[in-house]
């Protein structure tokens, strides 16, 4: 007996030890790599960095323990169904170029062995990057690009959390209708101004298509290059067209340049309704009070905290880490890591087909997102989040405040846009 035991004991011990080591290995070593492609140098590097900050904070929350945050997987460390495995972002710089987006996505998948992809921000870049991941059969969750065509391509591995520009365009036009009803103003004509890549031209297309449906007449349809050094001819054409409302889809450099030129040349529509560039964090510090009274489409505003305490908690964490308030961009990019973590956790594996299946079954309730949505659930065909919707914010005293939908507004909308001459 003694002899027998002495012979078994080392084996048993070895077995026990290796088992415990193995399980420790899963818990401590298993890292789930997610690729993140963003423009970190180039003209919109400041925006790209801001987006990345949002995604990084999300990963921190997933990996750490935040018992008082009602966000997916915040209360546990890592992914419980995968032995507490941690998420890791592998970041690549697109320089804002579609060809780099594709090349970097390919590199991340083939060399860094990421199991999922997020990001890109610029729709044109997301388009090429997601074509690469589709070919390599890697799931892509996008929460920061808004061109409608991205989810119209019938891709199997591509999902979008945030609203797209067809939704946003409808919101803007609906706002004008609601305003006519609420304030008794009359809006007849609109001008459409847009930068000429994937994002801008799609916004333009949507507005041009929808405007007649809402009873507005389009009096100018102007596209331009976002890296223009001077936009006086564009503004000259707008002045000539003299619209009631301008709808402008821009990135940040052109948003700054146009604001200065509107002021300089005294272009005064009744309303300045805008997309994207005007809500990027670099915009207000650059133009200061000249940005006041401009209306921007958004999915997020800090004043949502009044009805959603989660927003304030997340913003506090963001501010602690980066020293500034969470912007709309950061807030949008904040969603994708949660969607991935939730799906991988339910799939119990990082294998692509299983993750896609889990993504299709995603059902994150509205109280677990920082946006004014009913939650996150993907359309089985287009893979667009069916609950995504937009809000409109207006810059008032150099802050973004929610002004529409009227029932969830934090402040009254300032209308019409005060004449440049009467502003200081």
């Amino acid at each position: 007996m003694d002899r027998k035991r002495s012979r078994i004991l080392p084996y048993a011990l070895t077995l026990l030890l290796s088992l415990s080591l193995a399980s420790a290995g899963v818990a401590a070593d298993q890292v789930i790599k997610i690729g993140a492609v963003y423009p970190l140098t180039g003209a919109i590097a400041s925006t790209g960095l801001d987006c990345l900050h949002g995604a990084e904070l999300a990963v921190d929350i997933i990996n750490g323990k935040y018992p008082d945050l009602n966000l997916p997987l915040a209360k546990t460390e890592g992914l419980p169904n995968l032995g507490g495995a941690k998420l890791k972002l592998v970041v690549a710089d697109t320089k804002g170029e579609p060809r780099n987006g594709q090349a970097e996505a390919e590199r991340l998948v083939t060399q860094e062995k990421v199991v999922g992809m997020i990001g890109a921000y610029q729709s044109a870049v997301t388009k090429t990057a997601s074509q690469a991941t589709e070919r390599l059969k890697i799931p892509y969750v996008c929460s920061d690009s808004s061109s409608p065509t991205l989810t119209e391509r019938g891709l199997k591995y591509f999902f979008r959390v945030s609203p797209h520009d067809a939704i946003f365009a409808r919101d803007q036009l609906q706002f004008l209708k609601d305003l006519e009803k609420a304030k008794g103003v009359k809006i007849g004509t609109i001008a459409v101004l847009y930068e000429n890549t994937e994002f801008g031209s799609n916004v333009g297309k949507q507005v041009l298509m929808l405007a007649p449906e809402y009873g507005f007449k389009v009096v100018a349809d102007i596209s331009y290059s976002a890296n223009a050094t001077d936009v006086t001819s564009e503004v000259g054409r707008l002045i000539r067209a003299n619209p009631d409302v301008l709808m402008h889809a821009s990135y940040i450099t052109d948003a700054i340049l146009f604001t200065k030129t509107f002021k300089e040349m005294g272009f005064n529509p009744k309303g300045l309704m805008t997309f994207a560039g005007y809500i990027e964090p670099g915009y207000l510090p650059a133009v200061k009070a000249d940005g006041n009274d401009i209306i921007v489409r958004s999915t997020f505003a800090l004043d949502l905290a009044k009805r959603k305490p989660l927003v304030a908690k997340v913003n506090a964490l963001f501010k602690k880490k980066y020293g500034i308030d969470m912007s709309e961009n950061a807030a949008r990019s904040f969603a994708a890591p949660f969607v991935f973590a939730d799906a991988i956790n339910r799939a119990k594996t990082t294998e692509a087909e299983a993750v896609v299946k889990a993504l299709l079954a995603t059902n994150i309730p509205g109280d677990q997102v920082v946006y004014p949505w009913k939650g996150i659930q993907f359309d089985p065909k287009s893979h667009q989040n069916i609950h995504a919707r937009g809000i409109l914010v207006q810059i008032q005293n150099q802050n973004y405040v929610t002004v529409w939908p009227f029932d969830s507004a934090a402040a009254n909308v300032i209308w019409p846009f005060p004449a440049w001459k009467s502003r200081k």
């Binding site: 003209a43 400041s46 331009y224 890296n227 050094t229 001077d230 001819s233 300089e264």
Partner: protein
């Protein structure tokens, strides 16, 4: 309609003067040394940031930063020539292209590292607001910057024609070997031209900072257009670059106004291609 036309024309002239000053430095370096300085647009950015920091940290108005930018970029240009460009001047042509390209990438990335990719603006320069001529409005900082650009261009022109050093530079530009035989220190002329070219774009940066936003990649489109101006005006021709700059400014603005803003740069580049096709030496080359 005619008021808008006048406003467009004025704005075209203003941006054109700015383009001229940016391109003159580039064409001068090309004329004397036969190399393209790819870091030219980044020098513009350094000029703009210098002006921005002087304003933000010490409250110096961009108007008074002009001499500082001029001297700083002069020294920087001299150093870059002496320690980098001169080393490859006798080497293969490709090395000459690559060296300034490398400097460009280094400067742009160093700027992102040091100052972050954020956008800045000089909020309230001394020159501020607009002049109203009837219904035509002109931005004061833009107008002054453009007048300043013209003044600097004229000063350079006089310097080259009237002073001994200037004449030496022109001599090297015409014929390097003959100039060398005449006892002109061509190495010194090279360094001087590179430094003056850099200094001019530094001045342009200070002017531009009065009304334009500032960030590390701001030089991009300006750089591209200035290459176009240099070719259009005739490689190495300062008068040519001056005229071509103004021409491009006006064509860009009026083209955008009358046709379609989406094609305004296409019109500019088409004009350049046609010129190169009909008159390969450029307008005044």
């Amino acid at each position: 309609m005619s008021e808008q036309l006048l406003a467009q024309l004025m704005n075209g002239l203003l941006i054109g003067c700015m383009y001229s000053l940016i391109a003159i430095g580039l064409t001068m370096i090309w004329g004397v040394m036969n190399i393209i300085n790819f870091a030219h647009a980044d020098f513009l950015m350094i000029g703009m940031f210098t002006s921005f920091w002087l304003y933000t940290l010490y409250g110096v108005d961009p108007l008074f930063s002009i001499p500082v930018c001029a001297v700083l970029l002069f020294v920087l240009g001299w150093l870059i020539y002496k320690y980098l460009v001169s080393k490859v001047m006798t080497g293969p042509g490709l090395a000459q292209v690559v060296v300034t390209f490398g400097v460009s990438i280094f400067i742009a990335n160093a700027a992102v590292f040091l100052w972050s990719p954020d956008f800045r603006m000089i909020e309230k320069p001394l020159l501020y607001g607009t002049w109203n001529f009837g219904t035509v409005q002109l931005s004061i900082p833009k107008a002054i910057a453009s007048l300043g650009s013209v003044a600097v261009s004229v000063a350079l022109f006089l310097f080259l024609r009237k002073t001994k050093t200037g004449k030496a530079i022109l001599a090297v530009e015409m014929n390097r070997s003959s100039a060398l035989l005449m006892g002109i220190n061509t190495e010194r002329v090279n360094a001087l031209s590179f430094a003056i070219g850099s200094s001019l774009v530094g001045i342009a940066g200070a002017f531009l900072s009065m009304y334009y936003y500032i960030y590390p990649q701001v030089g991009g489109t300006f750089g591209l257009i200035s290459f176009c101006i240099v070719a259009l005006g005739g490689f190495g021709s300062i008068e040519g670059a001056f005229l071509a700059g103004i021409l491009i400014g006006v064509v860009q603005t009026l083209g955008g106004y009358f046709f379609d803003p989406a094609y305004k740069y296409a019109i500019v580049f088409a004009m350049y291609l046609v010129t190169v096709w009909i008159r390969p030496q450029g307008l005044m080359g």
